[in-house]
Symmetry: C2
Subunit: 137 residues, 2 copies
Amino acid sequence: METADGAEVTAGAAAIGPCAAIPAEHMDFIRQTLDRVGDKWSLLIIAVLESGPLRYTDLQRQVPGISQRMLSLTLRQLQQDGLITRTAYAEVPPRVEYTLAPLGRGLHEIVTLLIGWAADHHDEIRANRERAATAGS
Amino acid sequence: METADGAEVTAGAAAIGPCAAIPAEHMDFIRQTLDRVGDKWSLLIIAVLESGPLRYTDLQRQVPGISQRMLSLTLRQLQQDGLITRTAYAEVPPRVEYTLAPLGRGLHEIVTLLIGWAADHHDEIRANRERAATAGS
DNA sequence: CGGAATCCATTCGGATACTG
DNA sequence: CAGTATCCGAATGGATTCCG
């Protein structure tokens, strides 16, 4: 428990380690991309689109809790970023299909890992959180 | 361009593919965990903490643009979830160090992948986005 | 069916000021 | 140094309504 080190352990910015090496110049666009991709719905939509093209209403059904508004917004964002493709068939009744674009497919693998991790440690996190809340009282 | 398929391509919920298999019952806590872990700052903090323990002000310096408010809030969240550990040394001037907990270290690998992906495809995404904006005008 | 538009509550999050 | 507290604008996001 004692602070054996007399030296300033700070170092920090200068001595970045092996792989993380976030050049701080990149921090900004990393944040941007993360923001685009890391919001509530984008990851879930990308995850759901893995099984193949889906229509608007299918997406709405498979991502429970999403509103039309957020679905539309998120889909447009993802499409503009080139992560998914939108195909509209000019027929009645209208049909629109969303598919994972190549760029999105690359991201999908990471998303799968992240979701897997979330599913794996979900209860552990919940336990920790509740313990912290209990300890606080 | 024509719709050669007469069959309902939907399938969707029933015929989930190989690995994504999001059981829709889990959707909810996945969203929770993703929300906790996927916000602007959590990922960056976890990424930065890889190189070793960091003090409050060091974190503030290494994550440019973060306010004390968000830094405090995010740190407390991460700590309560058991992703990082907080060690306060009762001395003057006070010193507090934040370290990646085992749970956080597991997540860190995925975060690294995600950040790597973001760095990799950042300009591609930007190009797509600008093209879409141009086409819209 | 596949959205877009408006309205409104909640939340996020930065700036500032203050405390131990 | 390491935070907390308050204020307040900006963005998020749901509910509802309307359109092609």
